[in-house]
């Protein structure tokens, strides 16, 4: 007799927990593989999941087996030319004998272990351990977010929230309270009854005896009439809504698109901002992002234009900072908003403009900013802007950071450096 069962509708990810265990255990190696992958990928599929490889030797599960050497006999199929007594030279590069398929266990020649991460997992690894620094200004922003918390016990509520233990306890109390006097009487009567029954039937006071029996029956009836559970007993868990203070944050992305930025440099800048953009989108859903691009004049643009438009010209960095300041004044009051800035440039700037930049930054922007990061993408000597920014960095080490990027390979490490979680 056979039973045929359709299991296809059962949960299919029975092993998901094992998968998670694996990812947890090899977190470091995978993170490294992911960061390599980020650097190699083209801009468009930087956020896709995909193949990652980690060194096979790290995840090997050792068992005891025979090594090479000694006396081995082996039977093989498909003889074509050998006769008994023939001698064959040992194959070069690792003898195939003995271990039989164990060759891969022996150190070097081992392949990497490749597997596929989903997009979700990939991004998790990519942005693991990163955060926006100094995210502190929080405030009650009105209606958006509540969290429900338990607020004790109430006498009214919906049936789903009934607190069984409390309800039964209070029913029990009520029953005890209402029947207390009667029970005491009952006890006394029972004692009297027992006394009476000790006396032989002939000598017993039969009238009293009958009376006692009747009284007992009456009391028991009235005790049993007390309801076991009354609506009055029902207790409910009370849930109350608490408004949650929320931090509002805005990130200004400032990119230099002037003529001095060649295609490769722009590409690097874009990659950096794409990482930043993905990071914010993923980990800080409600963060607003303002895109500013500048050459001699700055302009606020939308995401699409920021990443794809091909405008170009000379360079005046302060124009972008000025615009940023105007936008802050207009829309993002520093009292309410956590303000962040990220600027990317090749360091090329118009003559005395660097000093103007410093003034704007130091006087206007930095006091209201949580964090401002500057990356310079260049293979050449640093110019005026870098040294100006360096001096600002020394003044404001907590809120101002600058990093230097030479090639594509630096982007992700620098990104991590700028936003890594600081242990308080």
């Amino acid at each position: 007799m056979s039973y045929i069962i359709d299991r296809r509708l059962n949960a299919k990810n029975k092993s998901a927990v094992n998968r998670q265990r694996f990812l947890r255990r090899y977190r470091e190696q995978i993170q490294k593989a992911v960061s390599d992958a980020v650097n190699e990928r083209s801009i468009t599929d930087i956020d896709k999941g995909g193949k990652v490889s980690i060194p096979g030797r790290d995840i090997n599960e050792p068992i005891i087996h025979h090594g090479q050497g000694g006396y081995n006999e082996r039977v093989l199929p498909g003889n074509k030319q050998f006769s008994e007594g023939d001698k064959i030279a040992r194959p070069q590069g690792g003898s195939g004998q003995g271990g039989g398929g164990k060759a891969s266990d022996s150190g070097e020649g081992m392949d990497d272990f490749s597997f596929t991460l989903s997009q979700e997992e990939f991004l998790d690894f990519m942005f693991d351990g990163l955060e926006l620094p100094n995210l502190i200004k929080r405030q009650l922003s009105g209606l958006e977010e509540f969290k429900t918390v338990r607020g004790g016990i109430a006498n009214e509520g919906q049936p789903g929230r009934m607190n069984i233990v409390r309800s039964l306890r209070s029913a029990n109390m009520r029953r005890l309270a209402l029947s207390g006097g009667k029970r005491r009487q009952l006890q006394e009567l029972n004692a009297e009854l027992a006394e009476l029954e000790k006396i032989p039937e002939s000598a017993r006071d039969l009238i009293r005896y009958r009376e006692v029996l009747e009284l007992i029956a009456k009391l028991e009836r009235s005790i049993s009439k007390i309801p076991w559970l009354d609506t009055f007993d029902l207790k409910y868990n009370l849930m109350i809504k608490q408004p949650v203070p929320r931090s509002k944050a805005v990130m200004f992305c400032i990119m230099d698109v002037s003529g001095s930025m060649d295609q490769a440099t722009k590409d690097i800048a874009k990659r950096f901002f794409i990482l930043l953009y993905l990071f914010l989108q993923r980990n800080y859903e409600k963060t607003e992002i303002v895109f500013i691009r500048h050459h001699t004049s700055a302009k606020e643009v939308d995401e699409d234009e920021f990443f794809h438009s091909r405008e170009t010209g000379g360079t005046v960095v302060s124009s972008a900072l000025q615009l940023m300041q105007e936008i802050i004044k207009d829309r993002y009051s520093p009292e309410q908003w956590n303000i962040y800035g990220a600027q990317a440039s090749d360091g090329d700037n118009w003559g005395e403009d660097s000093d103007v930049c410093r003034d704007i930054l130091v006087d206007d922007l930095l006091p209201g900013c949580q964090y401002f990061s500057y990356i310079e993408i260049t293979n050449n000597e640093h110019q005026a802007l870098w040294s100006v920014y360096e001096s600002i960095q020394q003044q404001y080490p907590d809120v101002f950071a600058l990093q230097h990027i030479r090639g594509v390979g630096d982007i992700y490490p620098v990104f991590r450096e700028l936003f890594h979680k600081k242990v308080a």
């Binding site: 007799m1 056979s2 039973y3 045929i4 069962i5 359709d6 299991r7 296809r8 059962n10 990810n13 029975k14 092993s15 927990v17 094992n18 998968r19 265990r21 694996f22 990812l23 255990r25 193949k51 995840i59 090997n60 599960e61 050792p62 068992i63 005891i64 087996h65 025979h66 090594g67 050497g69 000694g70 006396y71 081995n72 006999e73 082996r74 039977v75 093989l76 199929p77 498909g78 003889n79 074509k80 050998f82 006769s83 008994e84 007594g85 023939d86 001698k87 064959i88 040992r90 004998q97 003995g98 039989g100 398929g101 164990k102 266990d105 022996s106 150190g107 490749s114 597997f115 596929t116």
Partner: protein
């Protein structure tokens, strides 16, 4: 000619039921004795899940299963490999998984192969009858899974993972080769586990009692060794005697040990088991065709897949990866039938007792009473050796070249047969390692001996395994490779537990 059971490749549940019924009747006609079948249709994702838990329907969680899953998923999604058509579990009822992607022909093949072939092997073979208990394994796995997840809650995932890692490294040395465990149910197991935990802890402490003794110094040499006899079941030894383990850790060792024991017969009967199942799907499906239950198209599709299953690439082919157990097993099983039905002169000389006998009975006898090693030694015929063009080589590190010491000719048959059988002897394949001594009164170090076979040394991962052993034992661990009375090589693990 009757109407065939089906003519298209689409399957449905009614068809599977019909086919199973017909196959079941045929199997009974051929004298196959089986557990009841539980056929489960699953999707390819579920098949990958099943893969990753080494074929156990319920497994505890461990990263190595996740690793397996990731790599299967990766290769499957990139089209580098197909999934097995079926997985069958040695339980009662016998659970077989069919994939929904299979065609009706493949489903029929799989039912014949798994539900009647493997199933009757599980029920009949002496190793499975002695060592595993089909009716309680699922219960036990449920117990193990719950126990381990409870440990994880209580002691943390990492602590449990460490113990499991170490146990897995020694899994092949967690098997009783001679003593038969007797089956108990999950509830019983749980009740006993509590008793055991208490008892063990006392027992262990007793061994390590450190009451000072006068004049203990000169007894050092004469003191009896502990254990008095060398122990081959290392995990068992650790479970019972390791000084520092807590009782839950002992129980985890026990779980791994039990599961290793459950798989032990499978490791020893691969050729026979696959050969038997392949032989029967081949026989049953041809019978179906002969009786008109299936079409010619069916038999063509079936033969195509059957042929690729039993293909044996030659030793110099890029696809060669050892002897294909399906090929060898199928060739031998079919050959036994041939010897019974149409014996040649050669067969009468080599197999006087089975030539011309009833083939069904002879096959049943062979299936029930042998394991791979003894099966080959007993039944490998010159014809099979010729057909597979087997030859045997000797790789001796004292000689400069590899020597061919036997080929498929009159002089070589016996030698070939012995060598091939030796290749399936687990005792030869796995290094023979035994617990030799514990320094009970000294530094509590544990000494193991590796008894060398044919001078073969231990592999590179041995130091890694010793670290795991060290974790379970808690004190220094020494392993000596012994050839005769000489110690050829020694491994030590003396780090202190972190």
């Amino acid at each position: 000619m009757k109407k065939p059971l089906f003519t298209t490749s689409e399957w449905n549940f009614d068809l599977i039921q019909d086919v199973d019924k017909v196959l079941g009747d045929l199997a009974a006609e051929f004298g196959l004795d089986t557990y009841p079948n539980q056929i489960e249709v699953i999707s390819s994702e579920q098949m990958m899940d099943a893969y990753s838990s080494v074929g156990m329907p319920i497994g505890y969680s461990h990263w190595s299963y996740g690793k397996q899953l990731l790599s299967t998923e990766h290769s499957y999604k990139r089209g580098q490999m197909g999934l097995a058509y079926e997985i069958v579990i040695n339980s009662n009822p016998c659970i077989a998984y069919l994939m929904e992607e299979n065609t009706m022909t493949m489903q029929t093949l799989v039912i014949a192969h798994a539900c009647y072939g493997h199933n009757s092997f599980f029920k009949g073979n002496y190793l499975f009858r002695t060592w595993t208990d089909a009716s309680s394994i699922i219960d036990y796995l449920v117990f193990a899974k719950n126990y381990i997840s409870k440990c994880e809650e209580r002691y943390g995932i990492s602590a449990v993972e460490d113990i499991l890692d170490s146990c897995h490294a020694l899994m092949n040395y967690g098997v009783d080769r001679y003593k038969r465990p007797y089956p108990i149910s999950a509830q019983e197991e749980e009740r006993r586990q509590n008793e055991r935990a208490e008892y063990l802890q006392k027992h262990v402490n007793d061994l390590w009692r450190t009451i000072p003794k006068s004049a203990a110094t000169d007894t050092q040499k004469n003191a009896p060794r502990f254990p008095t006899e060398p122990q081959e079941n290392i995990l068992y030894f650790l479970e019972k005697n390791s000084p520092l383990l807590e009782s839950w850790q002992r129980e985890v060792i026990r779980i791994v040990r039990k599961i290793a024991q459950y798989f032990y017969p499978q490791r020893q009967t691969q050729v026979m088991n696959e050969g038997w199942a392949t032989f029967w799907h081949y026989t049953l499906l041809n019978e179906l065709h002969e009786r008109g239950y299936v079409t010619d198209g069916f038999i063509m599709e079936f033969l195509q897949s059957h042929t690729s299953v039993v293909a044996q690439p030659a030793y110099d082919s890029p696809y060669f990866s050892g002897i294909n157990p399906y090929t060898l097993g199928f060739a031998m099983m079919s050959d036994i039938r041939r010897i019974c039905e149409n014996p040649t002169e050669e067969d009468r000389v080599w197999f006087p007792e089975i030539a011309g006998s009833n083939w069904k009975e002879t096959l049943q006898f062979a299936m029930k009473n042998f394991k791979d090693e003894s099966f080959i030694l007993q039944f490998l015929s010159p014809k099979v050796m010729r057909d597979l063009k087997l030859f045997s080589i000797v790789d001796n590190d004292e000689e400069e070249k590899i020597r061919v010491d036997a080929i498929h000719n009159e002089r070589g048959f016996r030698k070939l047969r012995e060598n091939l059988a030796g290749q399936y002897n687990l005792g030869n394949r796995e290094p023979n390692i035994q617990v030799y001594n514990v320094e009970v009164r000294g530094d509590r170090s544990l000494t193991l001996h590796h008894y060398m076979h044919n001078r073969r040394p231990l592999g590179d991962s041995t130091p890694e395994v010793l670290k795991h052993l060290h974790r379970l034992w808690g004190f220094d661990v020494h392993l000596h490779s012994v050839d005769g009375n000489d110690i050829k090589q020694s491994f030590h693990c003396q780090q202190h537990p972190s």
